[in-house]
Protein backbone atom coordinates (compact mmCIF):
# COMPACT_ATOMS: atom_id res chain seq x y z
CA UNK A 1 0.00 0.00 0.00
CA UNK A 2 2.86 2.37 0.75
CA UNK A 3 4.38 1.67 -2.63
CA UNK A 4 1.09 2.07 -4.44
CA UNK A 5 0.83 5.47 -2.88
CA UNK A 6 4.42 6.53 -3.45
CA UNK A 7 5.19 5.30 -6.94
CA UNK A 8 1.81 4.00 -8.11
CA UNK A 9 0.47 0.51 -8.73
CA UNK A 10 2.03 0.33 -12.15
CA UNK A 11 5.60 0.80 -10.97
CA UNK A 12 5.15 -1.34 -7.87
CA UNK A 13 7.05 -4.59 -8.36
CA UNK A 14 6.97 -7.73 -6.29
CA UNK A 15 10.67 -7.23 -5.61
CA UNK A 16 10.03 -3.78 -4.19
CA UNK A 17 7.17 -5.07 -2.07
CA UNK A 18 9.38 -7.80 -0.61
CA UNK A 19 12.18 -5.37 0.05
CA UNK A 20 9.88 -2.85 1.70
CA UNK A 21 8.39 -5.61 3.85
CA UNK A 22 11.86 -6.78 4.89
CA UNK A 23 11.11 -10.15 3.42
CA UNK A 24 12.26 -12.44 0.66
CA UNK A 25 10.64 -12.14 -2.72
CA UNK A 26 9.61 -15.76 -2.52
CA UNK A 27 7.69 -15.07 0.67
CA UNK A 28 5.41 -12.69 -1.19
CA UNK A 29 4.70 -15.38 -3.73
CA UNK A 30 3.71 -17.73 -0.92
CA UNK A 31 0.94 -15.36 0.16
CA UNK A 32 -0.22 -14.23 -3.28
CA UNK A 33 -0.19 -16.38 -6.42
CA UNK A 34 0.73 -13.48 -8.68
CA UNK A 35 0.91 -9.75 -9.11
CA UNK A 36 -2.79 -9.39 -9.82
CA UNK A 37 -3.68 -11.03 -6.53
CA UNK A 38 -1.39 -8.69 -4.64
CA UNK A 39 -3.00 -5.66 -6.26
CA UNK A 40 -6.52 -6.88 -5.65
CA UNK A 41 -5.81 -7.57 -2.01
CA UNK A 42 -4.11 -4.22 -1.66
CA UNK A 43 -7.00 -2.36 -3.21
CA UNK A 44 -9.60 -4.10 -1.08
CA UNK A 45 -7.65 -3.57 2.12
CA UNK A 46 -6.99 0.08 1.37
CA UNK A 47 -10.64 0.76 0.64
CA UNK A 48 -11.59 -0.84 3.93
CA UNK A 49 -9.18 1.47 5.73
CA UNK A 50 -10.25 4.52 3.71
CA UNK A 51 -13.96 4.26 3.05
CA UNK A 52 -15.26 7.05 0.82
CA UNK A 53 -17.98 9.38 2.12
CA UNK A 54 -21.42 7.83 2.35
CA UNK A 55 -24.86 9.46 1.99
CA UNK A 56 -25.66 8.71 5.62
CA UNK A 57 -23.06 11.35 6.49
CA UNK A 58 -25.36 14.11 5.24
CA UNK A 59 -28.74 12.42 5.49
CA UNK A 60 -29.73 14.74 8.34
CA UNK A 61 -29.43 17.85 6.21
CA UNK A 62 -32.07 19.52 4.06
CA UNK A 63 -32.05 18.38 0.44
CA UNK A 64 -30.72 20.99 -1.94
CA UNK A 65 -27.83 23.36 -1.31
CA UNK A 66 -27.15 22.39 2.30
CA UNK A 67 -26.93 18.69 1.62
CA UNK A 68 -24.98 19.24 -1.58
CA UNK A 69 -22.44 21.40 0.16
CA UNK A 70 -21.98 18.78 2.85
CA UNK A 71 -21.41 16.09 0.26
CA UNK A 72 -18.96 18.21 -1.72
CA UNK A 73 -17.13 19.11 1.44
CA UNK A 74 -16.95 15.49 2.55
CA UNK A 75 -15.54 14.33 -0.76
CA UNK A 76 -13.05 17.16 -0.93
CA UNK A 77 -11.79 16.35 2.54
CA UNK A 78 -11.59 12.70 1.56
CA UNK A 79 -9.69 13.51 -1.60
CA UNK A 80 -7.22 15.62 0.37
CA UNK A 81 -6.60 12.86 2.88
CA UNK A 82 -6.14 10.26 0.17
CA UNK A 83 -4.72 12.49 -2.52
CA UNK A 84 -1.62 10.52 -3.42
CA UNK A 85 -3.40 7.20 -3.71
CA UNK A 86 -6.15 8.56 -5.89
CA UNK A 87 -3.75 10.42 -8.11
CA UNK A 88 -1.69 7.27 -8.58
CA UNK A 89 -4.75 5.09 -9.14
CA UNK A 90 -6.23 7.51 -11.61
CA UNK A 91 -2.94 7.71 -13.47
CA UNK A 92 -2.26 3.98 -13.58
CA UNK A 93 -5.80 2.73 -14.07
CA UNK A 94 -5.45 1.97 -17.75
CA UNK A 95 -2.22 0.06 -17.22
CA UNK A 96 -3.26 -2.04 -14.23
CA UNK A 97 -6.31 -4.20 -14.95
CA UNK A 98 -6.76 -5.09 -11.28
CA UNK A 99 -7.51 -1.43 -10.70
CA UNK A 100 -10.24 -1.02 -13.26
CA UNK A 101 -12.95 -2.87 -11.39
CA UNK A 102 -12.67 -0.90 -8.16
CA UNK A 103 -12.31 2.38 -10.03
CA UNK A 104 -15.47 1.73 -12.02
CA UNK A 105 -17.25 0.83 -8.80
CA UNK A 106 -16.16 4.08 -7.17
CA UNK A 107 -17.31 6.07 -10.15
CA UNK A 108 -20.70 4.37 -10.01
CA UNK A 109 -20.90 5.23 -6.31
CA UNK A 110 -20.12 8.85 -7.09
CA UNK A 111 -22.70 8.91 -9.83
CA UNK A 112 -25.44 7.55 -7.58
CA UNK A 113 -24.64 10.17 -4.98
CA UNK A 114 -24.67 12.93 -7.57
CA UNK A 115 -28.02 11.81 -8.94
CA UNK A 116 -29.47 11.77 -5.45
CA UNK A 117 -28.27 15.27 -4.70
CA UNK A 118 -29.68 16.55 -7.97
CA UNK A 119 -33.05 15.03 -7.12
CA UNK A 120 -32.88 17.07 -3.93
CA UNK A 121 -33.19 20.28 -5.92
CA UNK A 122 -36.76 20.60 -7.05
CA UNK A 123 -35.79 21.41 -10.61
CA UNK A 124 -36.66 18.77 -13.16
CA UNK A 125 -33.65 16.95 -14.48
CA UNK A 126 -31.39 19.45 -16.20
CA UNK A 127 -28.46 18.15 -18.19
CA UNK A 128 -26.27 21.09 -17.31
CA UNK A 129 -27.08 20.96 -13.62
CA UNK A 130 -26.28 17.25 -13.56
CA UNK A 131 -23.09 17.70 -15.54
CA UNK A 132 -21.93 20.45 -13.20
CA UNK A 133 -22.61 18.51 -10.04
CA UNK A 134 -21.08 15.28 -11.30
CA UNK A 135 -18.09 17.26 -12.46
CA UNK A 136 -17.79 18.96 -9.11
CA UNK A 137 -17.71 15.60 -7.33
CA UNK A 138 -14.85 14.20 -9.44
CA UNK A 139 -11.38 13.77 -8.04
CA UNK A 140 -9.86 15.52 -11.03
CA UNK A 141 -11.89 18.61 -10.22
CA UNK A 142 -10.64 18.61 -6.66
CA UNK A 143 -7.08 18.17 -7.92
CA UNK A 144 -7.45 21.02 -10.40
CA UNK A 145 -8.83 23.43 -7.83
CA UNK A 146 -6.28 22.28 -5.31
CA UNK A 147 -3.39 23.32 -7.53
CA UNK A 148 -4.87 26.81 -7.39
CA UNK A 149 -4.50 26.96 -3.66
CA UNK A 150 -8.14 26.68 -2.63
CA UNK A 151 -8.89 24.87 0.60
CA UNK A 152 -11.66 22.33 0.82
CA UNK A 153 -14.22 24.74 2.23
CA UNK A 154 -13.56 27.35 -0.45
CA UNK A 155 -13.77 24.66 -3.10
CA UNK A 156 -17.11 23.43 -1.81
CA UNK A 157 -18.46 26.99 -1.74
CA UNK A 158 -17.21 27.62 -5.24
CA UNK A 159 -18.68 24.43 -6.66
CA UNK A 160 -21.95 25.30 -4.98
CA UNK A 161 -21.95 28.66 -6.76
CA UNK A 162 -21.60 26.82 -10.06
CA UNK A 163 -24.46 24.54 -9.19
CA UNK A 164 -26.85 27.21 -7.95
CA UNK A 165 -26.12 29.29 -11.05
CA UNK A 166 -27.75 26.46 -12.99
CA UNK A 167 -30.96 26.51 -10.95
CA UNK A 168 -34.10 28.18 -12.33
CA UNK A 169 -33.79 31.93 -11.63
CA UNK A 170 -36.91 32.61 -9.54
CA UNK A 171 -36.53 29.73 -7.15
CA UNK A 172 -36.37 29.65 -3.37
CA UNK A 173 -32.71 29.12 -2.53
CA UNK A 174 -33.52 29.08 1.20
CA UNK A 175 -34.93 26.04 3.18
CA UNK A 176 -37.87 25.00 1.03
CA UNK A 177 -41.18 25.74 2.65
CA UNK A 178 -43.03 28.04 0.32
CA UNK A 179 -43.27 25.87 -2.76
CA UNK A 180 -43.79 28.58 -5.32
CA UNK A 181 -44.00 26.72 -8.58
CA UNK A 182 -40.64 25.52 -9.83
CA UNK A 183 -41.87 26.32 -13.31
CA UNK A 184 -39.80 26.73 -16.48
CA UNK A 185 -37.66 23.65 -17.10
Amino acid sequence: MQLHEEIGPRATTISAIAERAGVQRLTVYRHFPDETAVFQACTRHWLEQHPPPHPTDWAGLEPGPARTRAALSAFYRYYRLTERMWAASHRDESAVPALQGPMAEFRAHLRRIGDNLIAGFGASTDTRLAATLHHALAFTTWASLNTQGLDDGAMADLALVWVTALLPPSDTPRPAEADTATHRE
Copy 2:
Protein backbone atom coordinates in the same frame (compact mmCIF):
# COMPACT_ATOMS: atom_id res chain seq x y z
CA MET B 1 3.85 9.99 -32.71
CA GLN B 2 1.32 7.31 -33.51
CA LEU B 3 2.60 5.18 -30.66
CA HIS B 4 2.65 8.07 -28.24
CA GLU B 5 -0.99 8.60 -29.04
CA GLU B 6 -2.01 4.96 -28.96
CA ILE B 7 -0.16 3.56 -25.96
CA GLY B 8 1.41 6.67 -24.47
CA PRO B 9 5.00 7.90 -24.30
CA ARG B 10 5.79 5.74 -21.32
CA ALA B 11 5.00 2.46 -23.01
CA THR B 12 6.53 3.47 -26.33
CA THR B 13 9.76 1.56 -26.81
CA ILE B 14 12.46 2.04 -29.40
CA SER B 15 11.75 -1.45 -30.62
CA ALA B 16 8.12 -0.61 -31.23
CA ILE B 17 9.04 2.61 -33.00
CA ALA B 18 11.41 0.73 -35.31
CA GLU B 19 8.82 -1.94 -36.00
CA ARG B 20 6.10 0.62 -36.70
CA ALA B 21 8.43 2.50 -39.02
CA GLY B 22 9.30 -0.70 -40.87
CA VAL B 23 12.91 -0.18 -39.98
CA GLN B 24 15.65 -1.79 -37.94
CA ARG B 25 16.04 -0.84 -34.32
CA LEU B 26 19.57 0.24 -35.03
CA THR B 27 18.35 2.68 -37.61
CA VAL B 28 16.41 4.55 -34.96
CA TYR B 29 19.55 4.80 -32.89
CA ARG B 30 21.34 6.31 -35.86
CA HIS B 31 18.92 9.23 -35.93
CA PHE B 32 18.48 9.70 -32.20
CA PRO B 33 21.16 9.09 -29.59
CA ASP B 34 18.73 7.75 -27.03
CA GLU B 35 15.13 7.46 -25.93
CA THR B 36 15.01 10.97 -24.52
CA ALA B 37 16.05 12.48 -27.84
CA VAL B 38 13.32 10.56 -29.63
CA PHE B 39 10.70 11.81 -27.21
CA GLN B 40 11.88 15.40 -27.38
CA ALA B 41 11.87 15.37 -31.16
CA CYS B 42 8.46 13.74 -31.16
CA THR B 43 6.99 16.29 -28.78
CA ARG B 44 8.37 19.24 -30.69
CA HIS B 45 7.20 17.93 -34.03
CA TRP B 46 3.75 17.12 -32.73
CA LEU B 47 3.33 20.57 -31.22
CA GLU B 48 4.31 22.13 -34.53
CA GLN B 49 1.63 20.09 -36.25
CA HIS B 50 -0.95 20.74 -33.54
CA PRO B 51 -0.45 24.28 -32.28
CA PRO B 52 -2.74 25.13 -29.35
CA PRO B 53 -5.18 28.04 -29.67
CA HIS B 54 -3.61 31.46 -29.55
CA PRO B 55 -5.03 34.78 -28.26
CA THR B 56 -4.95 36.25 -31.75
CA ASP B 57 -7.79 33.84 -32.56
CA TRP B 58 -10.20 35.85 -30.40
CA ALA B 59 -8.47 39.23 -30.34
CA GLY B 60 -11.25 40.72 -32.47
CA LEU B 61 -13.93 40.03 -29.88
CA GLU B 62 -15.09 42.21 -26.99
CA PRO B 63 -13.26 41.52 -23.75
CA GLY B 64 -15.42 39.73 -21.18
CA PRO B 65 -17.97 37.01 -21.90
CA ALA B 66 -17.70 37.02 -25.68
CA ARG B 67 -13.96 36.70 -25.76
CA THR B 68 -13.95 34.18 -22.94
CA ARG B 69 -16.48 31.99 -24.67
CA ALA B 70 -14.42 32.06 -27.85
CA ALA B 71 -11.30 31.03 -25.97
CA LEU B 72 -13.10 28.25 -24.11
CA SER B 73 -14.62 27.03 -27.31
CA ALA B 74 -11.29 27.09 -29.11
CA PHE B 75 -9.58 25.07 -26.40
CA TYR B 76 -12.40 22.59 -26.15
CA ARG B 77 -12.29 21.99 -29.89
CA TYR B 78 -8.52 21.65 -29.68
CA TYR B 79 -8.82 19.17 -26.82
CA ARG B 80 -11.33 17.11 -28.77
CA LEU B 81 -9.10 16.97 -31.84
CA THR B 82 -6.06 16.03 -29.80
CA GLU B 83 -7.78 14.11 -27.04
CA ARG B 84 -5.77 10.91 -27.12
CA MET B 85 -2.40 12.61 -27.14
CA TRP B 86 -3.25 14.91 -24.28
CA ALA B 87 -4.72 12.11 -22.22
CA ALA B 88 -1.62 10.03 -22.76
CA SER B 89 0.71 12.93 -22.06
CA HIS B 90 -1.14 13.92 -18.95
CA ARG B 91 -1.07 10.33 -17.72
CA ASP B 92 2.59 9.67 -18.45
CA GLU B 93 4.00 13.06 -17.57
CA SER B 94 5.43 12.03 -14.22
CA ALA B 95 7.12 8.97 -15.69
CA VAL B 96 8.65 10.57 -18.78
CA PRO B 97 11.01 13.43 -17.94
CA ALA B 98 11.20 14.57 -21.55
CA LEU B 99 7.50 15.39 -21.27
CA GLN B 100 7.67 17.60 -18.23
CA GLY B 101 9.21 20.61 -19.89
CA PRO B 102 6.66 20.94 -22.69
CA MET B 103 3.79 20.22 -20.32
CA ALA B 104 4.89 22.95 -17.95
CA GLU B 105 5.21 25.31 -20.89
CA PHE B 106 1.71 24.53 -22.06
CA ARG B 107 0.33 25.08 -18.59
CA ALA B 108 2.09 28.44 -18.42
CA HIS B 109 0.57 29.33 -21.79
CA LEU B 110 -2.87 28.40 -20.50
CA ARG B 111 -2.33 30.42 -17.36
CA ARG B 112 -1.34 33.54 -19.27
CA ILE B 113 -4.42 33.23 -21.44
CA GLY B 114 -6.64 32.77 -18.42
CA ASP B 115 -5.19 35.80 -16.68
CA ASN B 116 -5.75 37.90 -19.77
CA LEU B 117 -9.37 36.84 -20.07
CA ILE B 118 -9.96 37.62 -16.41
CA ALA B 119 -8.51 41.06 -16.87
CA GLY B 120 -11.12 41.51 -19.60
CA PHE B 121 -13.88 41.42 -17.02
CA GLY B 122 -13.84 44.69 -15.18
CA ALA B 123 -14.07 43.03 -11.80
CA SER B 124 -11.12 43.48 -9.50
CA THR B 125 -9.06 40.32 -9.23
CA ASP B 126 -11.22 37.72 -7.58
CA THR B 127 -9.64 34.45 -6.47
CA ARG B 128 -12.75 32.47 -7.18
CA LEU B 129 -13.29 33.95 -10.60
CA ALA B 130 -9.70 33.21 -11.53
CA ALA B 131 -9.88 29.69 -10.11
CA THR B 132 -13.04 28.98 -12.06
CA LEU B 133 -11.71 30.25 -15.36
CA HIS B 134 -8.36 28.52 -15.04
CA HIS B 135 -10.18 25.35 -14.08
CA ALA B 136 -12.49 25.69 -17.06
CA LEU B 137 -9.52 25.96 -19.42
CA ALA B 138 -7.86 22.77 -18.18
CA PHE B 139 -7.81 19.61 -20.25
CA THR B 140 -9.01 17.54 -17.31
CA THR B 141 -12.14 19.69 -17.13
CA TRP B 142 -12.84 19.12 -20.81
CA ALA B 143 -12.28 15.40 -20.33
CA SER B 144 -14.61 15.28 -17.34
CA LEU B 145 -17.41 17.12 -19.10
CA ASN B 146 -16.83 15.10 -22.23
CA THR B 147 -17.54 11.83 -20.43
CA GLN B 148 -20.93 13.30 -19.62
CA GLY B 149 -21.80 13.64 -23.26
CA LEU B 150 -21.60 17.41 -23.62
CA ASP B 151 -20.41 18.75 -26.94
CA ASP B 152 -17.86 21.54 -27.12
CA GLY B 153 -20.40 24.30 -27.55
CA ALA B 154 -22.47 23.14 -24.59
CA MET B 155 -19.34 22.86 -22.51
CA ALA B 156 -18.26 26.40 -23.37
CA ASP B 157 -21.72 27.71 -22.52
CA LEU B 158 -21.73 25.82 -19.26
CA ALA B 159 -18.29 27.02 -18.22
CA LEU B 160 -19.35 30.55 -19.06
CA VAL B 161 -22.31 30.20 -16.72
CA TRP B 162 -19.90 29.23 -13.94
CA VAL B 163 -17.70 32.22 -14.68
CA THR B 164 -20.50 34.79 -14.93
CA ALA B 165 -21.96 33.48 -11.67
CA LEU B 166 -18.77 34.73 -10.04
CA LEU B 167 -19.07 38.26 -11.37
CA PRO B 168 -20.17 41.10 -9.06
CA PRO B 169 -24.01 41.00 -8.94
CA SER B 170 -24.94 44.54 -9.99
CA ASP B 171 -22.51 44.84 -12.86
CA THR B 172 -23.14 45.65 -16.49
CA PRO B 173 -22.42 42.43 -18.37
CA ARG B 174 -23.72 43.95 -21.63
CA PRO B 175 -22.27 46.98 -23.47
CA ALA B 176 -23.75 49.33 -20.89
CA GLU B 177 -27.02 50.75 -22.19
CA ALA B 178 -30.17 49.34 -20.61
CA ASP B 179 -29.11 48.66 -17.07
CA THR B 180 -32.27 47.01 -15.85
CA ALA B 181 -30.93 45.21 -12.83
CA THR B 182 -29.64 41.77 -13.81
CA HIS B 183 -30.08 40.87 -10.19
CA ARG B 184 -28.72 37.73 -8.53
CA GLU B 185 -26.23 36.07 -10.84
